[in-house]
């Protein structure tokens, strides 16, 4: 199973993923035209911050089973079996927002979409960049992320990396000389300064 894996501690809050997402889902797919389109595209990934320095890129997990799919009364939500992506049929969506109530991550937003002629705001959630996936490209958010906070790949491989990291840290804490992949000292110092400010 492939997914966009989130490493929160690597997010620097640049919101480049949000911009890349909005551009990817626009008509022109062009940063400099996207904001002048008739129905401007908005991000489907949301970078939220805490204490003005910690941030988290919150994105659809494409759950299976997906609570949103289970509760949708019009079967507007469906799964693409090849990629595991949960997709929305905009014409079927009736704006009841029950999907958003069921979503454990609060990532569903209602927007006007260019695919519909009407101005109705429908569930415009992450589609996993399914078009890009079919071209063997990775989702736009993961491509835009330059710090490794969003990584696309086989979930077990990505988890394994985290597990290896944790193992190294545990070993180190037990007095081993082995150095695990840790946060660079300068970035740690910066985060410590920002934490002090947040706690003043």
């Amino acid at each position: 199973m492939k997914t966009v894996f989130v490493r929160q501690d690597r997010c620097v809050g640049c919101r480049h993923c949000e911009i890349a997402c909005a551009v990817e889902h626009s008509e022109s797919k062009d940063l400099f035209q996207v904001f002048t389109e008739e129905k401007p595209s908005h991000p489907r990934i949301h970078v939220e911050s805490v204490d003005n320095y910690l941030s988290f890129p919150n994105r659809c997990r494409h759950c299976d089973p997906a609570p949103c799919m289970q509760v949708c009364p019009t079967r507007a939500l469906s799964r693409d079996e090849a990629t595991g992506s949960v997709l929305v049929s905009y014409t079927r969506c009736i704006q009841c927002s029950v999907c958003a109530m069921a979503c454990p991550f609060g990532i569903i937003t209602f927007q006007q979409v260019r695919q519909l002629e009407s101005d109705r705001e429908v569930n415009a959630k992450c589609d996993n960049c399914i078009g890009r996936l079919s071209e063997n490209r990775i989702p736009a958010c993961a491509e835009a992320c330059k710090t490794g906070a969003l990584e696309f790949g086989d979930v077990n491989d990505l988890i394994k990396e985290t597990r290896a990291d944790l193992t190294m840290r545990l070993i180190r804490s037990q007095g081993s000389d082995i150095q695990g992949p840790a946060m660079p000292d300068n970035i740690r110092a910066y985060k410590a300064v920002m934490e002090t400010i947040a706690n003043l």
Binding site: R10, C11, V12, G13, C14, R15, H16, V47, E48, S49, N52, Y53, S55, K146, T147, G148, M183, P184, D185, N186, I187, A189, Y190, V193, M194, T196, I197, L200
Partner: protein, 629 residues
């Protein structure tokens, strides 16, 4: 958005001063957007930018480096993280140096026009200082009129900007041992504009890629500001408007009047505001204000224009940089008159919610939505009168239902120019040196800089100042830091009660506050001159003295050259907000450690003011020990 108890809590979170809190509450109730709201809307702010690893210099970019050591590790051009971080720092620092120095140039230009009899309303107020500075420039003074001397001096100072002589005259004021360090490392400033232009050249793609070389030039550019542009601004302003002398006045938003026409003078340069001080003395305007139903005209200052006016004329000061929107939100301001620097472009929008008129005056700083009344030396006094007339005309538009003037103003003592401090000590720094040697004064720290919405307004300044005086460390201040301490009541002789017993005894003996207000942000040059005179008296470098600097709440690019010329002159400096350099270990290490071997000083970043005081005290103790005291 907020319930009334939430509003109180939010206001207490945003600002330390109770008058500020009251108006923050009113602004929230009135639905006024301020810097705090906009700051919240900006979260999360981009980490690449904050770490300094984003390069937006050329059209191949913007590029950014993975701060975690992965890819991308280089920009398109191949610049690494050290190059990008140091180049960005030099870029920001040069903007700050340019701001101070361009302000200085305007004052010299008016001195020249005044000497030539072309200006309106200006005169040379401090002839003694004029002669003293002229002599430094090798200009003859005997038997010459002050206008003749001023003309030669103004031309001499203007030449400093594009100087070809290889040094800046005023930097000669530094002690020989400090100048020797500058020579050894090739950072003696050669000309004010030259260093800034060269900095801009170096940040161009494919010029300087060596972070050490870039940072050395940053130091030279900063020295050209501190010992050049800023020092010229201070000295020329003293010559034109008088060198400040100790006086008392008032501070905080309570200085606004309930029944007079309130005019807030905001910005940096005293050129216009001093004319407005003259204009309000006009009997016709006074009469006109009464005709319009007001009891008179109430001038108050804000930011460094406010400091300039407070220092020389005792004009009350309404607040520092985060107060600019709050002053308007009192609903009691007829006109806010601005020149440049630190003017929020949001001001006309805030003013649009009340009756306030915003008047811009500088060709360099126009803001859409304001009334533009161009200011020039030839017509300065007439323009000033016109501006006051506009404010008076606006008085009947004040909506009394929307006015709230908070609390009571706080008394302040200001006006401590270097000359007056020396005079108070009996003409030489010997008594200060004796007090330092005896340990009555452990050391001296300059607290300077702005407000920043990341930190509760004034909390950093006030807490640090209190902490230092408690430890018998004398505090000197400029800029928004000084205004913060003014609002908090620390600029009063009585505040010596908060000081350690030894410092308290010194303050009581001299009748001075434990925190001395030395002026606006260009007046940090006064601190340099003072340090220089003390060092010369002892035959040491500035770096040998038990001094420190701090900018607990800085935001402005101008704070970068200030901090850097402090450090390059030998003063250890603690910043409360991290500069955008944390992306590069090498740049961090050089500024925090490497410089110690060069200038015997360094930068530190410590937002917690108590811990910042620990660092400063430790450094002062280290230098005392090295001096054998």
């Amino acid at each position: 958005m907020f319930s009334s108890s939430d509003i109180k809590q939010e206001a207490e979170k945003r600002a330390l001063d109770t008058t500020d809190q009251e108006i923050i509450g009113k602004a929230i109730e009135d639905g006024i957007e301020t810097a705090w709201e906009r700051f919240a809307l900006q979260q999360p702010q981009c980490g690449f930018g904050q770490l300094g690893v984003c390069c937006n210099n050329c059209a191949m970019g913007p590029c950014r480096i993975d701060p975690y050591g992965g890819k991308p590790s280089h920009g398109v051009c191949g610049a690494n993280v050290d190059t990008i971080v140091s180049r960005n720092l030099l870029d920001d620092l040069s903007v700050g140096a340019a701001a101070h120095s361009d302000h200085g140039r305007e004052v010299v230009e008016v001195l020249l026009e005044t000497a030539e009899g072309k200006s309106e309303g200006y005169r040379i107020c401090d002839e003694e200082k004029l002669k003293r500075v002229a002599e430094e420039y090798g200009i003859g003074t005997a038997g010459r009129s002050k206008e003749d001397i001023a003309k030669d001096l103004a031309l001499g100072m203007l030449a400093e900007f594009g100087s070809v002589k290889g040094f800046i005259q005023m930097a000669e004021r530094a002690p020989d041992k400090t100048k020797a360090i500058w020579t050894e490392f090739g950072i003696t400033p050669r000309g004010i504009d030259r260093e800034i232009v060269e900095a801009m050249h170096r940040v161009h793609m494919g010029v300087d890629a060596d972070f050490i070389n870039i940072l050395l030039h940053a130091m030279r550019t900063a020295l050209a500001d501190g010992w050049g542009g800023s020092m010229i601004a201070t000295d020329c302003s003293d010559i034109l408007f008088g060198t400040p002398k100790p006086l008392t006045s008032w501070a905080n938003l309570g200085t606004l009047s309930t029944d007079k026409v309130n005019v807030v003078l905001h910005g940096h340069n005293p050129l216009l505001s001093e004319m407005i001080v003259q204009a309000v003395e006009d009997p016709e305007l006074k009469k006109y204000a009464i005709e319009k139903g007001a009891k008179g005209i109430n001038l108050v200052g804000m930011c460094c224009t406010g400091n300039e006016l407070l220092m020389r004329s005792g004009i009350p000061i309404a607040g520092n940089v985060l107060d600019q929107e709050l002053a308007i939100a009192t609903g009691a301001v007829e006109a806010m008159v601005v020149d440049y620097q630190c003017i929020f472009p949001s001001i006309p929008a805030t003013a649009g919610c009340y009756h306030t008129k915003v008047v811009t005056t500088s060709r360099k700083a126009k803001i859409p939505g304001t009334q533009y009344m161009e200011f020039s030396a030839e017509t300065a006094l007439s323009t000033a009168k016109e501006i006051i007339r506009l404010a008076i005309d606006n008085y009947p538009n004040r909506n009394l239902d929307r006015v709230r003037i908070p609390g009571k103003p706080m008394k302040v003592m200001a006006g401590f120019s270097e000359e007056e401090i020396r005079k108070a000590l009996g003409g030489t720094y010997k008594p200060l040196i004796d007090a330092i040697v005896a340990g009555q004064i452990k050391g001296v720290v300059g607290i300077v800089g702005c407000n920043h919405p990341r930190i509760k307004q004034d909390y950093g300044h006030v807490t640090l100042a209190k902490e230092l005086i408690k430890r018998n460390i004398l505090v000197v201040e400029t800029g928004c830091a000084a205004i913060a301490c003014g609002k908090a009541g620390l600029l009063l002789p009585e505040a010596a009660d908060n000081a350690g017993s030894r410092l308290k005894a010194v303050c009581n003996l001299l009748g001075i506050p434990p925190v001395l207000h030395m002026g606006s942000c260009v007046d940090n040059s006064r601190i340099l001159v003072m340090a220089s005179m003390v060092a010369k008296e002892l035959g040491v470098s500035i770096g040998d003295l038990p001094l420190g600097g701090a900018a607990p709440e800085w935001y402005s690019q101008k704070a970068l050259p200030i901090g850097t010329y402090f450090v390059a002159s030998g003063v250890y400096t603690v910043l409360g907000i991290p500069p955008k350099i944390f992306g590069s270990k090498n740049v961090l290490n050089l500024l925090a450690e490497g410089l110690k071997g060069i200038t015997n000083s360094a930068f530190a970043v410590e937002p917690d003011p108590v811990k910042a005081a620990d660092l400063l005290e430790e450094e002062i103790n280290r230098k005392r020990a090295a001096l054998g005291i």
